[in-house]
């Protein structure tokens, strides 16, 4: 019963949930899911966004420590830049649970529940190759090149694509995850390469932008593949525009992280290994209907 009291007294204290900007539905879903799960368990929550600014995230960790948080759930702003803060939190006795993106250091965070971007990119690329019929000119739109995942996904794509000599990449541009930038750059690329057959994108917003540009240019039939599994792209797939995307089960990961946090707070251990990779799922016309808010109902 004393344990019970300890628990109830602990509950009501705050869990910090730190993610990139909510103006990307992916991170919003993540944050909302974690927040919802934590509230269900009776924790107070503070939801923050570091907007991919490692220094801001660093400061938010400071704040969490100063505020004596129970735990920190974080989708971090840099695999290396986040090591410092997580260590500081650990030293202050505050456990960190990483979601979506890992850090290049083990033994600091309690859990690193990461969707396997590389695997995701690979299945995305395989689908792309299939749609392309293993041949033809294509364009790659990369995310913000200073972001870890932009690199990993691009690597994963090329792991597959480079195996097909008949597939020719005629342009590779960064559109910094941005829909508008993807739109304009796509238009320019089309000027240089009017005869492309496919566009493979580092995330869904860029895919949406590219698709808009292609349709405006009357090339709606060009194969576009995204990454994330947002509702917008789902609808586009159902409408027959974008052909496929890769779902990261971010909502699931977020809830899982909170559950493990709770367990850790109660028992001092999660009973799970630190690194937990969750596989991504390919979304195409076949299963798009079942997708909602990054959750694919089985």
């Amino acid at each position: 019963s004393g344990d019970q009291e300890a628990k109830s007294e602990k509950k009501g204290n705050t869990i910090f949930i730190i993610t990139p900007s909510h103006d990307n539905p992916f991170f919003k879903t993540e944050a909302v899911a974690a927040d919802d799960e934590a509230k269900k368990m009776g924790y107070a929550t503070t939801v923050l966004s570091h907007d991919d600014d490692a220094n801001l995230q660093d400061q938010q960790f400071d704040t969490a420590i100063a505020a004596g948080a129970l735990a920190i759930i974080v989708d971090n702003a840099g695999a290396d830049a986040t090591i410092g803060p997580v260590r500081r939190a650990k030293e202050a006795g505050i456990p960190s649970f990483l979601i979506d993106r890992e850090i290049n250091e083990t033994g600091l965070a309690v859990s690193q529940i990461v969707s396997n971007n590389y695997q995701g990119a690979v299945i995305g690329a395989e689908k792309f190759v299939e749609l392309m019929g293993e041949e033809g000119k294509f364009v790659e739109l990369v995310g913000k090149e200073s972001d870890t995942n932009a690199g990993i996904r691009s690597k994963g794509y090329h792991e597959i694509l480079d195996q097909y000599p008949a597939l020719e990449m005629v342009a590779r541009q960064s559109a910094n995850w941005s829909q508008t930038e993807a739109y304009e750059k796509m238009e320019s690329i089309l000027q240089a390469n009017p005869d492309i057959k496919g566009v493979i994108c580092g995330n869904d917003t860029m895919a949406m932008g590219a698709m808009a540009a292609l349709k405006a240019a009357g090339m709606g039939d060009v194969i576009v593949v995204g990454f994330d599994g947002s509702n917008d792209v789902r609808d586009s797939i159902l409408a027959g525009d974008i052909k496929a995307t890769v779902l990261q089960t971010c909502a699931y990961n977020a809830r899982l992280a909170v559950q493990q946090a709770d367990k850790y707070i109660e028992t001092g251990s999660t009973g799970a290994p630190e690194k937990q990779l969750t596989d991504c799922v390919l979304i195409d016309s076949s299963n798009a209907k079942k997708l909602d808010n990054f959750v694919l109902e089985q």
Binding site: D23, S174, E184, E187, L190, Q191, A212, D232
Partner: protein, 360 residues
Amino acid sequence: MKNNKQNISIGMILMQARTFIALFILTVAFTLLLSNRGINFLSPINLLTVTKHVAITAILAIGMTFVIITGGIDLSVGSIVGLCGMIAGGLIHEGLNLPMFHMTIYYHVWVIIILTLILGTLIGLVNGLVITRFNVAPFIGTLGMMYIARGFANIRSGGATFPNLQGQARLGNTGFPFLGAGKIIGIPVSIWILIIVLAIGIYVAKKTPLGRHIYAIGGNARAARLSGVKVKRITTIVYAFSGFCSAIVGLIIASQLVAAHPATGETYEMSAIAAAVLGGTSLSGGIGTIGGTIIGAFVMGVLGDGLVMMGVSEFWQNVIKGVVIVAAVIFDQMQQQMKARSSVSLTGGETKKGEEAEIA
């Protein structure tokens, strides 16, 4: 007088030549470099595409030029672009929800466009009032608005995107994509819009008392007041116009993407200011021309598109962009000096009707 007029036209050309020259060099360079790769940079469609991209910056830059000429600056344009896009997007996508009446109103696209333009103008008006009535430094006043507008753009949808803005026939709100994708006599609507805004801008700057007064305010605000120029009112109008231009751009972008994203327009203010300054607008006010600004916008646009078509990496694009911007202006300075030496009539500061000096 005749004699004068001649000097002048020469002066005119020389005056904007520097930006022209930068533009010219860039265009030639890209044309050659790309032709090797069998791409015709000067093909009509490509020029149209470039112009379409330029339109975004240019429309903002025209409003910005007037603001800068009064000696101010408007950092909020980017956010207003974002917010207006979201408002329009929201109205098309969700309509106007009136819970108390358990009803949702879907407006015709034209109504929505007009509402959005009004909104943008009002935000600009607020900027102007804050700056003139409470005499807050324009930089800080519009910086505040930049945060506020961006905040609301996100709050409107909780950060989400409003997709599928093509509207639905049964709701009678179709036709929005026309702004971004439509063409009139083979020329994209957004370019027509640019042409209209440009025409208005030049007319106001050169032909109307309003224009004179805007230049006067930037030249010597105190003297303007003592001479009976309605400094506060006119300054306010100028910011309102800048807001109006931002709303236009917000609509165009949302229409092009057939979706409205709250982060749209981030850092656009910088491109707009850069375009204006490249075009010879002086940030200390009183000096600048709409014509120059347009050329400035084209310099930025051609550079951006050209580098993308060349397949230059994002990082090097940054470096080159920076170098070109500075080089263009240095170039300009040298010409100013040569000009100064070469012809008296220009050093004497002869100006064309309603034409402003390059150097204060």
